[in-house]
Subunit: 304 residues, 2 copies
């Protein structure tokens, strides 16, 4: 066995990915039989499974996405190999987009953007607000908390272990947290527990000035309940980088709501993503070659 | 003489201002002859001068605005009294608005806001960019720099003393700084030196991906030159909370430009402003009563 790790890149072996493999000390290979690792982007499970079946030497699979909900149901994660997602690699860009959307809503930018006349002043500040961050312990969630810090926000962090005040550690129910929050930022993985976690009751618990930002997965929110809450003014506004269904079809009621800002799953566009993922490949290849624990290992039981 | 400072509030003595005076240990007075201090909001110089002429005991004038360019030409600042503006009191809110506008431009929010269909991904990150902050040594400028810090931006700070790299201290010409900048945030006072400081040559020095944010005074930018640069794509986009003329009249060419985001001088709307100014009144009244230097003292020579 040579001292360098054979890496199969799929479904297409783009030059920047090959460059990253080489930069990490690996060797790009096209023959699955020579591969000890696979780097796989996208969601073609069938194509992936065919490759994997022909690659008996593969001990590690690096997926390109941070969210791996579409893979969890395949059962592949429990196969004894090490599986890593890109979780954390895109955290800065995604958290930045979340902050951008949050500030844009508070500052009434959607309204001002559409105006062609000098409107009366309006807008609210983020300073000293209470923000519920769902998924506060994830890579993106922690980065969101970091970016909120200069605004002296009170952070309520929701994780699998419940909701806690980030400063005091005090535990709250989700309903209590929603009642106290001026903004909710959704950054959890999509799991059976988080699917639909923001529904009618949760939206009703928010006060009428509250705003909701989702940069996680559309299905974390009950879309119909959200549309109703925005239409009736039960909450002030929402900004969605992810939707359910996605892409949001033309003519969907959310497009018609002035208090709903929609961006096309662009928290981390491909142009930003490639250098971030390349950095992760380099990191993980060096770790793999040295037997150091990899970054972004997927817990097969949790599915992410 | 009583131990409490007589404060005349004008042009109108609103309850929250009277409350602030009382909270600061002062006594609101309506008779100018009993006043040792005046708190004056707005730009009615004539009305102010009439009051002042009838108030021989006034040693301190607290103005309500942070920018006092409209007062500088009256010559009042050199009258031997202590003049304070509200500079710094609104810094957090204004800096927050500047960051909001900057992020909104980089993340293509104006385009997404107008869309009613799922567009291709786009957007750029603020992380690791170079940002030229004009007025970097002012209350707002310093707060902008603080809010930019989590994004690992390279800050070039422009002040009366030139342009310096905030990290290395290295000095640059304004043209060099513009050439290197991905974004320009304008936060200087309006003075003869800053009026029109961003004109055709300065806009031409920026690269085509650069964005400009103005939260200072409209006249810092040559409006016609900016409109041309936005129309021809010489710069990528601009966001203006202040314009020249202001308010920007209906039908002005800037309203028609998709890459120009305009907000109506709302970085610090009245709803946010009042508690901030009240806090400053309390602070300064206590200092005045104790003979401690006031916050926001206007330098008569500089005019701000």
């Amino acid at each position: 066995m040579s001292g360098t790790v054979g890496v199969l890149i799929g479904p297409s072996s783009e030059p920047w990915l090959r460059d990253a493999v080489v930069a990490g000390g690996g060797t790009p290979v096209d023959d699955p039989r020579l591969a000890q690792a696979i780097i796989w982007r996208g969601s073609d499970h069938q194509g992936f499974s065919r490759i994997l079946a022909a690659a008996p030497g593969v001990a590690w699979v690096q997926l390109g996405a941070a969210g791996t909900d579409a893979w969890a149901s395949t059962g592949l994660f429990g196969d004894g190999r090490t599986w890593t997602s890109a979780k954390g690699a895109y955290a800065e860009a995604v958290a930045e987009h979340a902050l951008t959307l949050l500030l844009a809503l508070l500052r009434d930018l959607p309204r001002f953007t559409r105006a062609t006349t000098w409107l009366p002043q309006s807008g609210r500040t983020l300073f000293d607000r209470t923000v519920l961050v769902v998924g506060a312990d994830g890579g993106i969630g922690r980065e969101i908390v970091r970016l909120l810090t200069p605004f002296r926000t009170r952070i309520l962090g929701a994780t699998r272990d419940g909701v806690h005040d980030a400063e005091t550690g005090q535990s709250l129910t989700l309903t209590d947290a929603l009642c106290q929050s001026d903004a909710v930022v959704l950054a959890p993985p999509l799991t059976p527990q988080t699917r639909g976690m923001i529904g009618r009751d949760e939206l009703a618990a928010l006060h009428r000035g509250a705003v909701v930002v989702n940069i996680s997965r559309g299905a974390v929110i009950d879309t119909d309940a959200l549309a109703d809450a925005l239409r009736t003014g039960e909450i002030a506004a929402a900004a969605l980088d992810v939707t359910d269904p996605e892409p949001l079809p033309d003519g969907h009621p959310l497009w018609a709501l002035d208090n709903c800002l929609i961006t096309p799953h662009t928290a981390n566009p491909a142009t930003m993503l490639e250098p971030q993922f390349a950095r992760r490949i380099v990191d993980n290849l060096r770790r793999f070659a040295s037997g150091i624990p990899l970054i972004g290992v997927i817990d097969a039981d949790k599915g992410y």
